[in-house]
Structures are given as C-alpha cells and as structure tokens.
C-alpha cells in the first residue's frame, strides 16, 4: 500500500539542453491502476526511473511514498516498495535461467533460503509460467520474458509496480494474460500499478486513472469525461479504412520459397511461398511479437531461416555480403544502429560518398534537411539529437544511400504528425524519381497510407497479402 506524490518534480539529464520533465505535481492513488500515456520519447521512462530511484533527484522531496522521501527509504528496502518492469526484455536479467533470476532477486531481498523455493513456485504459478522454471532466459520469447519479469516482482512482493512500455515485443495473447494478472494484483493484493504506454488498446475498461504527458513536459490527469476522446483518437491512428489491391503481376524483388522462421523454440512463420514486388511500396502490419522484424533480419541475412529467399533471381545466401548490402538495406528500428560517425555533417558526407545513385545532390540534401526541420545542425553531435531528430536523420541517410530496396522497420516511431507528413512527402518525391522498392513495417498508419501499394499482414505464423483480389 503506497500513495505516491510528485511535488513540483523537474528533471534535466546532464548535458541536455531542455528539461525532460517540468514542474510535475501529481498524486498516484494507492491500489489504483494508472495508465501513463503520451508519445514516445517524452519522458515517460524517465519518470518511472525517477520513481524507482534509478536516477538522481535534485530535490529529495520531489518524490514521496506515503509522505516519506524516496531517497530516505533505505536502498535495501526500496525493492519492497517499488519495482519496475522494463521496455526491453533482453536487458533486464542478470542470470541465465528463470529460476536463478528469481533466486537472485530473493537473495537481494535477503529472504531466508529455506523459503525461496515456495515463493518462487507461488510467483511462477501466479503468472502461469511454472513450466518455464528451468528454462534459459535467452531462449524465451519477448512475452515470456516479460512474464518472468512480472514473476520476479510478484516474488519480491513489491507494493508499487511500474511498467515502462512493457508490451513492445509481446504478442497479443501474452499481453492479454499479463494485463489480467496486473488487474488481479490490484484487486486481490492491493498493489499500486502504473503503466506507461503509447499504445492505448484495451486499457479503457481496465484502468482507474489515466495521466498524460503534455507538450510542456508536465504530466496531468485525464478526466473521465476526456477519456473516450483520447482512446478514440488513438484507434483512428492505428486503423485504416483504406484497402489496397492484391498484387497481380510485376517484377519480383524477393521470392520466398517455403520460408519458415523460428526464434529459439518458437515458430514465427510457417513455410510460406510469397513474392515481394519491385518498385512498389509494401506495408507489413501485424501484432507485436509476431515476427515482422525477424522477417526483415532474415531478408538481410542477420537471422537464420529455413527455405529459400531469392533476390533478383538469385539465392541471397550465394551473394557476397558486401554487394548484397548495396542492393538491399535495412532501416533499423533503433536509429543509433545506423550511425557510424559523430556529427550530422560527417554522416551526410558518408552517405553521399557511398550512395548507389545520384539522386541526392548536395542541393537536394539541403532541401530535404530543411523539409525535415534538421537544417543548421551540421556540426551537432548526433548522439545529442532528440530521438525524433535521430529518426529523421537516419531515414534521410538511408534515402541518400539510394539502395534499390529499402526495408524500413517502424520508420515513424516516436515522430510527431508534422514530422510524419514531411517525411512521407519526402519519400513520395524521392520514390517518384528513384523507383526504389520499399517494404515498411509500421504500427502507425496515419499519414502513411498515400504511400502504400500493397499490404501484407503477419499474424498467427502466417504472412499474407490483404485486400481485394484483382478482377481480371
């Protein structure tokens, strides 16, 4: 049981220009399930980390649990008060197996070793993953890892459970199961739950409170009356009434022959025959954790697969890596993966130097920079750009490279609507001139639809074209 008060909380990262959070005064009610929402990269993670005590506070009284300053709670007791479930399931465990991770947490809590086995059994049972007890964490799916992370928190019996975008790589079934457990933890055990998510699906009926990050980096409650509008606006952003035709014929870019994908022991894709077409834009949608990104990794030979993938008539395994990378490039989900240098100017120069085509002249690059609101930042260190600026720069760098095929994994993630519109416009003018092939994975559909020719849906181990079959 704990009521959490934020008192005029302001936080600025060292070396950052602007504060990430500003003058936040808010109370989280004990025993409530609160949804914390707002676009990606607006300080939700930062708030949760501050509330867990993972980032230092200037004003110790800015965060209080039951009128006690967080910093005054002894470090060894904090985990009993508050624990966090992180966005990236791959970097939240210290140990090799599920059981060992729970043991690690209980040892930290100085639990008597004779009681551990029973507590672990109970926690795993509660989350419904007893069968995973001896499994290696490395071999679990994203959803299973998050269930283990929740089991750790259950075993530690923390009063307040913070979850930071916990479902980013979790499939819908696992997500529903996790949400059910959270509601149970609130109703049966009186836990306080605060969950940050930019995806609002399913929450309306579950949560007690909703708070959102404002453009001024404050956090304010969303009243009951305002909520329907909020949830509705989200629905519109991720759904589309547009349907695209099924492809009939055309030049194939990729041909998949009995392609099957697995992740550890999980089948992601059943053997599939499929063609992706040149000089078109294909959209891939599908729930989290279905295997969309893994499919892209297979296409660029970063993930093993069964069956055959051919590009321009040749088995991609027989192509030289270097030559193939100039034909088919991947826009990684994490922008930093794509960077090689230090300043914006160096990155632009590198792309221009190695570009496969000549469309992006220096003048066109300057124009694109202006269009994307990135002009005048030539000397800026890329690692000091905001997440949105990094994303836009990353996309521009890959467009300048002008590979015949560009695979884009969630290119709109974390971008505001103005940036999305500018970007789609840039893509349209570029594609009209370069005739490149684009394959785009995206959850966000607003603004993107005018670009799309075909639509693939990846779900339930199937990858299929959607839309009306062509009449011939």
């Amino acid at each position: 049981m704990a009521t959490i008060a934020l008192n005029n909380l302001t936080f600025t990262y060292p070396q950052a220009v602007a504060p990430t959070l500003q003058h936040v005064s808010l109370t989280f009610t004990s025993g409530h399930f609160t949804l914390l929402t707002g676009p990606s990269g607006t300080g939700k993670s930062t708030l949760l980390k501050l509330m867990t005590g993972l980032l230092p506070l200037d004003d110790p009284a800015a965060i209080q649990y039951d009128q006690v300053n967080l910093s005054a709670i002894d470090q060894t007791d904090r985990a009993a008060k508050v624990a966090m479930l992180f966005q990236n399931p791959n970097q939240q465990f210290a140990m090799d197996t599920v059981e060992n991770e729970l043991v690690f947490a209980l040892e930290n809590r100085q639990v008597d070793p004779t009681q551990m086995a029973a507590r672990i059994t109970a926690a795993l049972d509660f989350v419904g993953i007893s069968a995973l007890r001896q499994r290696k964490l490395l071999h679990l799916s994203g959803g299973e890892k998050q269930k283990v992370a929740l089991a750790v928190i259950v075993a530690m019996d923390s009063d307040v459970i913070l979850l930071d975008e916990p479902f980013a790589s979790v499939d819908p079934t696992a997500r529903a199961s996790l949400l059910r457990r959270l509601v149970q933890l609130r109703d049966k055990a009186g836990k306080t739950i605060i969950l940050a998510d930019h995806d609002l699906t399913d929450y309306q009926a579950l949560v007690d409170d909703v708070v959102k990050v404002t453009p001024a980096r404050n956090i304010v409650p969303v009243t009951v009356a305002q909520r329907p509008a909020l949830f509705q606006a989200f629905e519109q952003r991720v759904s589309t009434t547009t349907t695209w035709p099924q492809p009939t014929s055309g030049q194939p870019a990729f041909k998949l022959h009995q392609l099957a994908l697995t992740q550890g022991q999980h089948q992601l894709l059943q053997p599939t025959d499929l063609t992706l077409f040149q000089q078109h834009v294909t959209l891939i949608t599908g729930p989290n954790g279905s295997g969309k990104s893994t499919f892209f990794e297979a296409l660029v030979r970063l993930h093993a697969y069964q069956g055959r993938i051919s590009y321009a008539g040749q088995d991609i395994q027989r192509l030289k890596r270097r030559a193939y990378a100039r034909q088919v490039a991947l826009l990684f989900q994490d922008a930093e993966t794509q960077f090689l240098n230090i300043t914006v100017q160096e990155e632009l120069a590198q792309s221009q130097k190695h570009a496969a085509g000549t469309y992006f002249t220096t003048a066109r690059i300057q124009q694109a920079l202006a269009q994307l609101n990135l002009a005048g930042r030539d000397e800026q260190v890329i690692y000091t750009l905001s997440e949105g600026q990094k994303k836009k720069l990353q996309i521009l760098l890959m467009l300048i490279m002008q590979p015949p095929v560009l695979l884009m994994d969630e290119p709109l993630k974390g971008l505001d609507l103005a940036s999305i519109n500018a970007l789609v416009q840039l893509l349209q003018t570029t594609l009209a001139a370069t005739q490149q092939t684009l394959v785009i994975i995206s959850h966000q559909l607003t603004g993107l639809t005018p670009l799309i020719d075909y639509h693939l849906h990846f779900d339930q181990q199937q990858l299929r074209y959607q839309g009306v079959p062509h009449e011939s």
Binding site: L55, V381, Y383
Partner: protein, 191 residues
C-alpha cells in the same frame, strides 16, 4: 579492497561487455592467426603470428585503462575478458587466466609508473611498453622463448611492441577519440 569501492556495478558490467564484444570481434581474426601460423611453421617462425596479433588480445585491458581511468581498470578489463574467454570456447584453460592477469597488469603498470596522470600518448606508450615487457617475460618461460636464438628473441620482442603500440596504443586512441567527440562517456559516468 579499498580500490573496489570506486567501482560501480555498471562499470563492472561495462568492461565485461566490452571484453566480450572485443572477443567476438577478435574471433574473426582466428583464421588469420591459423593461416599465418601454418605459413610460418616450416621456417620455425610460427610465434611471429602470435606476436603480430597479440596486441589485439591486449586491447580490452589497454582500452579499459585508458577509458575508465580507474585504478585497476586495465587489469580488471583484461582479466574479465579472460574469464569469459575461458568459459566461452576458450580451450587454453587456466593458462588463459594467467595470461589475462599478466596482460592486464602489464597494461596497468604503464599507468602506475605514469601515476595515473597521463591519459595521453605518454601513458599509452608506457602502457604498450610495460605490456610488452611483462607478457614477454611470461613467454620466456611459458612458450620457451628463453631457449630461442638471440636474433629471433629480439625480432619477437620488437614485433610484439609494434603490435601492442599499434593496437593497444594507436587504435585505442582512435577509438577513445571517437568516444570523446561523441560525448556519450561523460554523461554516463556521472551517474
């Protein structure tokens, strides 16, 4: 264990990760080692392959010493890399650990004699030199270098220093220059 106090958990994880990352990169040089060794064996110069590439294997320690600037970081950086190597596909067993400690301590010695004040070319050169001397001393016994003819011994020593200087000195400096310019390290190390 006073020195241990200045280490944070994230420092330990960081240098262990760097050691593993570098190890994963070096694995790609194993073929080079094999080819060189095979080619040089008929002339009784197989050790030259080792001498040429040894600087690469000493990089985690030299880089950790230069980058983290904590007492013991070079030793620990190399030792942790060796521990992981021992368990993960390393076939040399306990000898890996001994080499790891000596390589790391060798690199540390350069900073000790420059009093942990010279994070510049002087410190780097001193570190390359002490790494060379300490590891060479060990190889006099372990690899039987003591029984080699003098000209070969001198050749090995010179080649080893060049390798240490190129990989542990020049390359380390180029890497850390990139890190300095990117501003990522400072912002992380104040946490």
């Amino acid at each position: 264990m006073k020195w241990a106090k200045s280490w944070t958990l994230s420092d330990v994880i960081l240098i262990a990760l760097i050691g593993i990352f570098f190890g994963a990169i070096f694995m790609g040089t194993n073929y080079l080692y094999d080819v060189l060794t095979a080619a040089l064996t008929p002339f009784g110069l197989a050790g030259l392959a080792n001498e040429l590439l040894l600087g690469i294997w000493c990089m985690p320690g030299m880089l950790a010493g230069y980058m983290l600037r904590l007492k013991g970081s070079a030793t620990l950086g190399e030792l942790l890399a060796a521990v992981v190597e021992m368990f993960f596909g390393g076939q040399w067993g306990a000898a890996t650990l001994i080499s790891g400690v000596l390589q790391g301590f060798g690199s540390e010695l350069g900073y000790i004699i420059t009093r942990y004040k010279h994070y510049d070319w002087l410190g780097l050169t001193a570190s390359a030199l002490t790494t060379t001397i300490v590891t060479f001393g060990w190889d006099l016994a372990k690899n039987g270098y003591l029984k080699l003819q003098l000209w070969l011994l001198v050749l090995y020593l010179v080649v080893r220093f060049i390798s240490m200087f190129v990989f542990g000195g020049v390359l380390t400096r180029l890497i850390t220059d990139l890190l300095d310019r990117s501003h990522v390290l400072k912002s992380t190390h104040t946490n």
